[in-house]
């Protein structure tokens, strides 16, 4: 990125985008994260993982959470899913405080966590079965979602016969079959190669556009966050706290061409400065010694 390129401010939005955000904020709040804090008791004393996390997720909104490593992204999503407990604050779903895991908050994990002993169909049927639905009902439900992620040819395959991208599609179908109020995704495409990842992002966008679903998505990939999200919650590390909540100034749905649009780059630059501060400490620099012969330079 050349320095001379004049980028617009990431805060400036077209009227249509401005209007869309206004409509989003009028929708009911699905998830209300109110003053969340979390401290661990480690060997070297008390570690504050999260401090005073506040944000609201509106219905059918797509929210991304990004931050440098160690900022407590995973702790945050685990608390939202009920797999971990906050030391202060509360999580409210549709206005009611929740504690412990439940089918109203579906979760997609980075390492798929499909049940290896169940076929694709049986994996997707797991949630409906746990709700006490009849086998036939669950099966029909599962088939619908398997078809939606384009894996109907594989419904009788076992997870270890599928590729990483296909596994994650099954995991998404399994979560959606439960019809949760919000889908929490913890770096779901982090283990995939770049091509599959781009494909999965497009799939997820299609699902989000066509299904009544609210998504909270954790990633460390800045482009992924801008491409998918309505708003991006940027966390800061030590302790994990909100640095800024950015409204992405691009109209939905996004296309691959958006990756080089000035507004995208402006947002990207802002995220870069928030997550990777421009100044480099002396201890971060590698102690380099010149080990090549004169005249042997690469430049």
């Amino acid at each position: 990125m050349s320095q001379s390129l004049e980028l617009p401010s990431y805060l400036e939005k077209e009227p249509a985008v401005e209007d869309r955000f206004r409509r989003i904020y009028q929708r009911p709040v699905v998830l209300d994260v109110a003053g969340l804090g979390k401290t661990f008791h480690a060997a070297n004393g008390v570690v504050e993982a999260l401090r005073d996390i506040h944000f609201k997720v509106h219905r059918r909104e797509f929210i991304c959470v990004i931050g440098p490593s160690g900022c407590g992204k995973s702790t945050l999503i685990r608390i939202l899913a009920g797999l971990d407990y906050p030391t202060s604050g509360a999580v409210k779903l549709d206005g009611h405080e929740v504690s412990g895991p439940g089918p109203d908050r579906g979760m997609v994990f980075q390492n798929y966590t499909l049940f290896p002993w169940l076929t694709v169909k049986r994996n997707v049927m797991f949630g409906p079965r746990m709700k006490g639905h009849q086998y036939r009902v669950s099966e029909a439900e599962a088939r619908k979602w398997i078809k939606m992620v384009g894996l109907d040819r594989f419904e009788n395959s076992y997870p270890n016969q599928l590729s990483g991208g296909m596994k994650q599609r099954v995991a998404i179908a399994r979560t959606l079959a439960n019809q949760p109020r919000i889908v929490l995704m913890d770096e779901p495409f982090g283990a995939l190669d770049a091509q599959t990842r781009a494909q999965m992002q497009a799939y997820l966008q299609q699902i989000w556009l066509n299904v009544d679903v609210t998504i909270l998505f954790i990633t460390h990939d800045l482009d992924e966050a801008i491409y998918l999200a309505d708003r991006i919650v940027v966390l800061d590390a030590h302790p994990g706290r909100i640095a800024e909540i950015i409204e992405v100034p691009l109209p939905q749905p996004r296309t691959p061409e958006d990756f080089i649009s000035p507004k995208f780059l402006a947002t990207r630059k802002r995220l870069d400065t928030l997550i990777h501060p421009p100044k480099m400490n002396d201890e971060d620099r590698l102690p380099m010694v010149k080990m090549t012969e004169p005249g042997d330079d690469v430049i």
């Binding site: 089918p103 049940f115 002993w117 949630g127």
Partner: protein, 391 residues
Amino acid sequence: MNRRPSWLAIREPLSPRKATALKLASFLLPLLIWSIVSYVPFIWHPMILITSAGDSDLFVKGERFTRELFASENVGLVKDGLKPGEGYRVNPVFLPAPHEVLKAFFVAFKTPPYSKGDPWLHQSLWHSIQIIMWGFFSSAILGVPMGILAGTFDAFSKLFEPFIDFIRYMPAPAFGALCVALLGIDDGPKIAIIWIGTFFQMVLVVANTTRLLDVGLLEAAQTLGASRRRLVINVILPGILPNLYNDMRILLGWAWTYLIVAELIGASSGISWFINQQGKHFHFDNVFAGIMMIGIIGLICDQFLALFSTYLFPWLPNRRGTSMMTVVAGAFLFFPQRYLWQRGRDKAAKRAERQSSGSIAAKPASVATKPFPASIHEASAGGAIADVSIT
């Protein structure tokens, strides 16, 4: 460009042919060494088997003496002008040759016991298998659920495991006297020894297997709405099943090792009684045959369970290469069948030849099978098998 696969490539699987060859060699090499020691006289053969005692009053025909003793005795005899003893070099009585053991393997089943009323070999074997099964299953019925509970709930882990860890270090045979005092001298104490030998290990092994289940699966199931009971039944149980099955395979092997001690407690019985009895009568070919029978039963059992697991757990990735079971099955089934088939074809061809040459004397071809000796069935009616029961 075409890399030639090496026999000693680090952490790379061999080609199926090489793998099969080595699997066969792992059995054939020890057999080869045994054969060389047995059949090549100058390798070891430290004894002389007397064929003629001569004028010696020391030598007995058919007995074995060390070469040194044989030589010095003969030197003395020759010096005194007496007829020296004759004999040939043999191995000690405790190392029979492979063919003798192979013969004993088949003959042992047909040889009646030394005293009337004692069990035949097949009865002893069956008795041993029953002891193992009772001991193993009674420990599994309690041990597996306790292990799963301890691996799932920390409360049970803390309640069970410290005491079990303590008992685990007490060797099972040490409980022999106690078991006899409590349960009598018949099968009760034997089953109890196998129970003690496997149960405590089983709880700890199963608990550990349960703990190894990916926590991610439990968390995923929870976010899908699984209750605590559902987690145990629908996630933990199916999740650990393949590893549990493997644990059971290994622990069944342990049960066999405890069997030998168990059977010598109280009134000795079963295959180890047979081995001991044969040892007392210096029939070491039978001793070897008995030991090998245990090994073969164990191997076949284990390989069968391994083969069966691929059908039980179709989701597991397939292992490459021929299984040991295929090799064993091939060795035991394929070759004799093919041989018989070949012989049948030869016979048919001969018959056809004879018929075409105009001879009417062709007899109907019947497979010549020797009837099993009737005496075995008579003996089993004598009630030689003690009733197997947990008292």
